[in-house]
Symmetry: D2
Subunit: 337 residues, 4 copies
């Protein structure tokens, strides 16, 4: 039994992790850390977990966690997890960070987009980017995993197999639509139900913090014009990517690299992913159309931001780190409806 701890237990990513691990046959959650509710039963803070857990929230203590845990997940807002990560690293326990603090290799670029100085730049080179289909072998041996951001997954996975065919002088256009849970649980008038229901909006044009992560995931070989949008649903991301192709390419062939990936599903030409097919699953669905008229390749990618985009991907990393079949505890289809 792998014993894990979860820091930031009441955030949306961590909640999903706790739910998922409740059915994982080889993992036991032995500690939950919540700075806002230390001493409270977890199911008092989150009634959804009544009768499924007896855990009590505790304050953060790296040494105490390390003693009881084989691995610790950290799920706190960007800018705050680097301190937790650094403290936990000192104990030797394996760390999986759900946040953005260890995802970039370049601390200067991190600071440019996150607007604060990075406190532990020396850890950036140790951290393994936990995008399983690309970094599987490194993840097996990693002691610090940076679980990828939800938007970047939906741009990097479709494009990577095609990188050499993309016209590098024209930015790739990636327009993503996200459910509101992606904004987390902090209150904000923009996400008050009557403001967001029946609404659609774009935000952070040209300055979104996932831009350097996306471009790094594409080896910084192309610029990406990334525009995120929010729509009135709770979970899910759908990203539409428009690319100019410089040389003819057999897209289906290229995407065959994902055939044996357990959770990447490439759709037959003419069929397109939808959020409902991936909801509450760890899947990442990819479809595409080559538009002969315009000469563009248009790709569509769907994930559940809290599952395949956060907690599911994190569990897949954990499975790899501890030598389990990577599908363990994740092996189901989308929840539709």
């Amino acid at each position: 039994m792998i014993r894990v701890g979860i820091v930031g237990a009441t955030g949306y990513g961590a909640r999903e992790l706790i739910r998922l691990l409740g059915l994982h046959p080889e993992v036991q959650v032995v500690a939950v850390v919540s700075e806002s509710a230390p001493g409270k039963r977890l199911d008092e803070v989150l009634p959804a977990f009544r009768k499924s857990t007896d855990l009590v929230c505790e304050a953060f203590d790296a040494q105490a966690l390390a003693k009881r845990c084989d691995a610790v997940f950290v799920g706190v807002p960007g800018g705050k997890s680097m301190a937790y990560g650094a403290a936990l690293r000192g104990t030797g326990v394996r760390v999986l960070d759900l946040g953005p603090d260890f995802r970039l290799k370049d601390a200067a670029r991190w600071q440019q987009y996150y607007k604060v100085e990075h406190q532990s730049p020396q850890l950036l080179k140790d951290a393994v980017y936990g995008l399983v289909p690309i970094h599987r072998e490194a993840i097996r041996k990693a002691s610090l995993v940076a679980v990828p951001g939800c938007y970047p997954i939906t741009v990097i996975l479709p494009l990577r197999p095609l990188l050499d065919t993309i016209a590098s002088n024209i930015p790739v256009v990636a327009d993503s639509i996200s459910g509101v849970s992606g904004a987390g649980r902090s209150l904000n008038e923009a996400y008050h139900f009557p403001e967001m229901n029946e609404n659609l909006k774009a935000y952070r044009l040209g300055v979104h913090q996932h831009i350097p992560e996306i471009e790094q995931g594409l080896d910084n070989r192309v610029m990406v014009q990334f525009t995120p949008h929010v729509a009135p649903l709770t979970r899910g991301i759908l990203t539409t990517i428009t690319v100019r192709i410089k040389t003819e390419v057999n897209v289906a062939d290229r995407l065959r690299c994902y055939t044996s990936e357990p959770f990447v599903r490439v759709f037959p030409s003419g069929e397109l992913p939808e959020v409902k097919y991936v909801r509450a699953s760890n899947c990442c669905d990819i479809g595409w159309v080559m538009d002969q008229r315009t000469g563009n390749l248009v790709m569509v990618c769907a994930i559940d931001n809290l599952m395949g985009g956060t907690a599911g991907m994190a569990v897949q990393c954990l499975n790899l780190m501890f030598g389990l079949d990577e599908r363990t505890g994740l092996n189901y289809g989308g929840m539709a409806p």
Copy 2:
């Protein structure tokens, strides 16, 4: 490994069952029957299941199913499952019917509400009503289980422990609000997205087919004024029950009968269930307020209609029928958000 078949595999209840059983460590789905898509791969009809199943839909053949299966779930619309149930019963295989055809003991009352004659009235006395907290022992030995209706669960479980204290001359009022998946996948202008989104409605006042099932579940000792409503969400039922109490009663004491139930969660006084706490879980949450001013007891009950209200309850029955821990494959909290 328990081998199961599922008849009516593309309906909403069966889909959820297939999803759930994907993670059940002791059950394998070996056959899926779909009259509308025989010969097609299940994941072609339901892309949500790509890479999680290789099953191919087949036409119904009771003997063939019985040879390969230890148990068969039937998930077809009301009025249609009795024929499947009767055919399967002839083979000796154990049957769990998700529909209403075997839920009532009284064929005449069935006909009165369902408006067609019952074709297999002789099976009604054999069928065990699969409401686990009430009929656990009978379900263990059952060969034909009628999985309860979603609305009835939310009225019967809160009220049964209080039956002797209810004024029998005044109908209990049960106003339920349901998500739209309860209406199934048949197209209907009323449930076309632009018609149902941002809408609320009541329907089938005084004639809903769950009325006799609710009253039977309460031993026909009280009349129930049951009014179902539909709200713009996909999953979930919230039922508010108003009861006149004839003798003083300690409600908390009475509801303690559910303390050891794995999936019935009674809330402390002053806290109320919400659909989000039970979403995608097998839980049935119960809260209540005794209104001293009016002399009424008001109870609130929440379930996920497709899980605790259908597929989850069915799996819990299956676990009991095959001697497993009844929590197997079901042991997680609500998905919130």
Copy 3:
């Protein structure tokens, strides 16, 4: 041209009022008061009004308003409007209060439910309850109108014509379902989009502040067991009322009292109101079923809480107060879809 001012201009009720009055041929909004944004253009605070208004928010000044306005609407949270109302009354300007502060005749009962002492109890007897179909003549002459609460409208209008036939010893059961805009624009975790979407809940059982208003509107002749619920939509209320009838009554006949009401629409027996029929309109739709089996009358009533439940009703009052045809500026059907 009737010149009006609006105090509390950025709240949901006032926004709707401003939108409505934009098309009213006989009214001009000449002043908007916002304590949170004095000096700002209204369309800067509320971009929905760009190019439809040049109004600039101002701080509250009763004398200044009275000089420029024939009538002032006050749309601020409960407990806060009595001070505005009292100040405005001192100037002689006519006042329409959208909040609850002047709705009850009994200050003690107000305090019991609102939990603060009433500061202007002497105004309660002057205030006219602005439920047009019941108090039309008094409203014409009123100088202080308390626009009714949204929930009370949906209980009082269906029941009043039947009051003498209702069994007075058994509380009427009124289960209401509301859209989230009814909770106003104050941030609250319960109404954060990912928490409320796909959710259903009941709240304030037995203690909701609209209970005394409902019972007063029924001449305090019956007790009402009022349970409000919230569903994931923005606008609309659907109320289901269950009543025990003590003497046989021709319900259709009784409801004929509303035949000439411009905005009360009684449905033929067997047809039921839905929120979509009243959305963005001033209508109040009433349907009913007499359940012979149980002896109960079940009524269903729908309004748009921001229109027929607030701003529309307020404009209808204004029309009456200034001698206009009461349909002026309100004469359209529901927005469906």
Copy 4:
């Protein structure tokens, strides 16, 4: 008083038109044609209009309509309105077609995208494209107006003032997100509430019928990679346009051409349109960001597809055709919430 008729009265566009015209001070709807409900009261088919109309649906008769009407709106599905339009044109009555049949000048291109032969190609040159800000003067004199498609409005209006600065060898990327009402009221499993709620999808990549209309509206000077998406809301379109600029341009200056447009609202740099600001209004909101890093201009445009995208734009055309102030009956802000 301008007397108008409406053909196809039960479709979503026509319903909105009827609702709007109910408040128009200079227009009276004198005839509604519904092939599916001739002889029925309109408010029986559409209960939202009870007490706001006494109209009775009639069968189509061009001569009879022309006698009673000054103008006729036609709101029927694509491919079906050309026959109505041709018949009405023969009578001399002025026609406003809400559908796509008269929008393209090139019958061959129409056929290529709509997959049926055009029956009245000779009318295409007479028809005036009813995009008011671009064709205002022609609309005043038009006898046949083709009201623009909802998606095209959101691409043409932002881009036209910048046409000469766009790199013509790189397709413009327009990713639109639409509410479900855009798909009309025909039943379709894809838009069954439980299938579409909490879902996102792209559709008709590279072959959507609005592509030639968009490119014609841009004088066929650029290719447009148009990808439409559907999100779980009823009304509204948000379009994000990514353009490569070939010469430096002052975007704010260029968009000043819309300063005196009553319903086109250009946002200050750094502020972005949202669907909630235009909901239920005739406005078209435009925002933009010049991304110095990528060299792209990103524009965002929002409309209410049934209002500014259909019925509102149609009424604005009617106002122009009959010499009224074009804001008549349309002069209000967005409905938020």
